[in-house]
């Protein structure tokens, strides 16, 4: 059995009578990237806040260990092992990027020369050398996030929490951030990240847990999660209603969308199955305007797992 960087049993937190986390179990092996995936309000940030000692869990929670230390008994030891980059920028906007880094070095009790060396190295690594002498409040969103992570790394944490690290970033900054996160684990560091982007979890995480309404509704590797839901399909779209109707009768077992004049045929996306669909269309003399092959992705998992439970509750909330 590998050592766990994060182990939580029955994590609970309620505000008033609203349960934000309702018995969440987590087990994250050392040196892996773990993604907590969920829609807004699922409780992702609360989970990070508890695991990073920022807020206390409800007394009914089971034991929580982070970095090998008991969260309740020795929070300072947990703090010494972790680094946190929250959802909202945790940089001091009034001072420069370099001063922010040196502040972190001082708080990690590095010597002056070591602090300067570490700060300079990280500013270089995160492409912030040019901006280092400017107040952090003048940074762009992507730069702030990079500075934020650079500050988190000053103390050499073994477990890093990243709460929605790419929310609000442009595509280029997002890819830069993904590269940074991948590099973090090469040194044996454990990364616990939350995201509402399925692609992000798919790209980065070794294991993914889907959080919805304060509960883990599914957990596994991206592949395992994808296997949980029905396979892929081929989607055909028509502009001519007559052709659409003929295709429906020619192909037999299909899911139809009369409004969009589109139909879906269950398929694993293999060459053989595709050819059989095309052959049948040719035989009936029908030409589709658009053909797309859809392999199951995490979006399907996400909607399948959180959709049925999530939608009615959401609509109830909007009525209130």
């Amino acid at each position: 059995m590998t050592d766990l960087a994060i182990a939580a049993n029955g994590l609970r937190k309620s505000y008033g009578d609203k349960a934000v986390l309702d018995g969440v179990d987590l087990a994250v092996p050392e040196g892996t990237i773990f993604a907590l995936l969920g829609p807004n309000g699922a409780g992702k940030t609360t989970a990070v806040k508890i695991l990073s000692t920022l807020v206390s869990p409800d007394p009914a929670s089971g034991e929580i260990r982070v970095g090998g230390h008991d969260l309740a008994a020795d929070p300072q030891a947990v703090r010494a092992a972790i680094g946190v980059t929250g959802q909202f920028s945790a940089v001091d906007g009034l001072i420069t990027g370099e001063e922010n880094m040196l502040l972190m070095a001082d708080l990690h009790h590095l010597s002056r020369s070591e602090g300067r060396r570490v700060a300079a190295g990280l500013l270089e690594r995160f492409d912030l050398v040019e901006a280092a002498k400017k107040p952090a409040s003048t940074y762009s969103g992507g730069m702030k996030r990079r500075l934020d992570i650079a500050m988190t790394l000053v103390g050499g944490p073994r477990v890093i929490f990243l709460d929605e690290p790419t929310t609000g970033l442009d595509p280029r900054s997002r890819h830069t951030m993904w590269q940074i996160i991948r590099e973090l684990v090469t040194g044996g560091v454990t990364v616990f990240l939350t995201t509402q982007y399925l692609e992000e979890a798919d790209q980065l995480a070794d294991r993914i847990a889907v959080l919805d309404g304060g509960r883990i509704v599914a957990e596994g590797t991206a592949e395992e999660l994808k296997r949980l839901i029905p396979g892929g399909h081929v989607r055909l779209r028509f502009s001519d209603p007559a052709a659409y109707r003929r295709a429906v009768s020619a192909l037999g077992e299909v899911t139809t969308d009369d409004e969009a004049l589109a139909l879906q045929i269950p398929s694993d996306g293999s060459q053989r199955e595709l050819r059989s669909v095309l052959d049948r269309l040719d035989l009936a003399g029908i030409e589709a305007d658009e053909l797309t092959v859809h392999t199951p992705d995490l979006d399907d998992v996400f909607f399948a797992l959180t959709g049925s439970a999530g939608l009615p509750r959401q609509s109830k909330e909007s009525v209130r």
């Binding site: 000692t53 206390s56 008994a73 946190v84 929250g86 945790a90 001091d92 009034l94 001072i95 708080l107």
Partner: protein
């Protein structure tokens, strides 16, 4: 947090001192880089000093039985200096409230640093700013003719000590106000009494010249005994029981502000 520390770690005290020093450096850096808040707050006492001396000075001087304006300068300066402290700590309340809304405080809370260092940094920084502000306003007072008549070196030292104690007491209260406020505007509003209280103290006119029903308000508040004590130290007027009263107010407010602030800071953030 009273977690037991592993023997390998440095002692709690040295950690606390080191982290507090780091936080103090951070706050002084803020103050140095953005001095406008502190300087704005100095305007009120300086304006009032000039207004009362040059516009109302003649009348006021007659009111306290003085011969000319210089008598009134002497009377008013101790109150103005205490008011300077009250004004400076408004800035403290504002910067604490602003700070608590910054994400960086959440970061500090998740780091293995001394918990109180964030507050200690603010408090020590604020007291140092008060001392600097009092020195600046004091320099203005001297420039327009304020002279200490008979203060000995020991009395100067006591005056400095009193101002520092008073600054510490009001600072802890202001830190509590800053923590209790949701934003900077609310902090500025709730700390407003700290600069208004001197107006209803013995800073500008003796308490016994006030209407009878109002006198208790002037007497039972921290500014009056502190001002009377400072006046006695610098100008040789009678201090009486005001000395002990001033010290008691300072200690009481410090303890109260400290307990209030630390209780708020150790609570789970919203």
């Amino acid at each position: 947090m009273s977690a037991p520390l592993a023997p390998a770690r440095p002692s709690r005290l040295s950690l606390a001192v080191r982290d507090s020093r780091t936080m103090l450096r951070r706050n002084l850096l803020h103050a140095r880089r953005y001095p406008s808040l502190t300087l704005n707050l100095l305007l009120t006492p300086v304006m009032l000093l000039l207004l009362f001396v040059y516009i109302f000075g003649g009348v006021m001087s007659a009111g306290i039985g003085g011969a000319d304006r210089s008598d009134y300068i002497a009377y008013i300066v101790p109150g103005i200096l205490m008011m300077t402290v009250g004004g400076t700590v408004i800035g403290t309340a504002v910067s604490v409230a602003t700070d608590m809304n910054e994400g960086v405080i959440a970061r500090f809370r998740t780091m293995a640093i001394h918990r109180g260092s964030v507050l200690v940094g603010h408090v020590v920084g604020s007291v140092l700013q008060c001392v600097a502000s009092v020195a600046l306003v004091g320099a203005v007072a001297v420039a327009i003719g304020f002279r200490s008549t008979d203060a000995t070196a020991l009395e100067w030292l006591a005056a400095f000590g009193l101002l520092t104690m008073f600054a510490l007491a009001l600072t802890w209260i202001a830190v509590g106000m800053g923590l209790a406020s949701p934003n900077a505007e609310a902090a500025a509003n709730s700390a407003q009494p700290l600069i208004l209280l001197p107006l209803i103290s013995s800073a500008f006119i003796p308490a016994d010249s006030m209407p009878g029903w109002f006198r208790p308000i002037a007497e039972y508040q921290p500014f009056t005994p502190a001002i009377e004590t400072l006046r006695g130290l610098l100008l040789g007027t009678g201090i009486g029981h005001n000395g002990w009263l001033a010290v008691a107010w300072c200690v009481g407010l410090t303890v109260l502000g400290y307990l209030w602030s630390t209780a708020q800071f150790s609570r789970d953030p919203k």
